[in-house]
Assembly symmetry: C2
Homo-oligomer: 197 residues x 2
């Protein structure tokens, strides 16, 4: 007996992470009853973002420009390249303020079972960068999960081949934990105590 369009909107909200049927309904009704303007801004911004945001041609993070602001900044060209799985990891490391270099964003991790090999996570691009660029240290900050560790190990081999120093964030990050949920303190600690691989 619900309006078909409201039903569609509730379904559409359910694609969001952590949003079940009850929250989706609350979101739909809240916007329609109390904040049509906020709903309209969300719809427009989301449409624009989906349309315009792609990947940085240098580090693969999400950006609406050809290269992201970190890659564009000469101040950040310290020769240290921090390798993370996702743009949210960049975000959490930036919030901690501990790292002044640049990033390389894998947009995932190696997962042969899902057909995700070195190329799918941009390791060909990374190798090109190690050939051309003045990168002198790779800091691997993949998640401390089985897949993250396997990916770190694979990248370590690439670094050795190119004779680039490579380190991994120090233990202190709980096993199975996800980088993006860590507090800045723990993360800073892990950066400072990183160990050569």
């Amino acid at each position: 007996m619900q309006s078909p369009l409201i039903q569609e909107l509730i379904e559409a909200f359910r694609v969001l992470p952590g949003v079940g049927p009850k929250s989706a309904q609350r979101m739909a009704f809240y916007l329609l009853e109390q904040n049509k303007n906020g709903g309209s801004v969300l719809a427009k911004t989301l449409a624009k973002a989906v349309e315009e945001i792609g990947h940085c041609s240098l580090c693969r993070t999400l950006t609406e420009e050809e290269t992201c602001s970190i890659c564009q900044s000469s101040r950040r060209a310290t020769g240290e390249l921090c390798i993370v799985e996702s743009p949210s990891d960049v975000s959490v490391i930036e919030q901690s303020g501990i790292f002044q270099g640049q990033y390389f964003v894998l947009m995932g991790h190696l997962s042969p079972i899902d057909g995700i090999g070195p190329k799918q996570i941009g390791l060909d691009t990374l190798e090109k960068r190690l050939n051309d660029d003045s990168v002198h240290e790779l800091i691997i900050a993949t998640n401390p999960t089985v897949e993250g560790e396997a990916t770190a190990h694979y990248i370590q081999q690439i670094a050795l081949k190119h004779q680039v120093k490579v380190s991994r964030l120090a233990q202190g990050i709980p096993m199975g934990g996800e980088l993006e949920y860590l507090d800045s303190g723990t993360l800073s600690q892990a950066f400072l105590a990183r160990k050569a691989m």
Copy 2:
């Protein structure tokens, strides 16, 4: 150092109820990284809903048509009119299946301090309906809060003036609770045990 457009998108998600900065960021990254199609559908559906959904001319609930499907159904013209505060209340009562009549949706409750008087919650429209129509019972299902009770009392006076039977959902709904979070069982019970006012 975050892309301005991603930042805007995260801000836009924060208008949603129960969404803080962390969840807003997760939503934005999830759609951009993993589900652009879902994001695009959400943007379009939300834009359409905000544009097209208005209020039913008879019962004031949300609908993209002139009158909602319940008001259109002759099967629902039982002469019982259930008065609720919001469209989500209609939704939860419909889910319980206990009520076969029609609704009148206040879209709020009396709140003189916020300038919300009888007219703002559509009580003039309700009175017209009591004059013209064959409504023979008002079932008041406003929330059991101070404002909900005051609103119920005010509507009771209107019903008495028009010599229409009026009842209120039975106690059993916890004081201060909100109708939309009740389970169907409690709600059905409250309907069956409703008391004449």
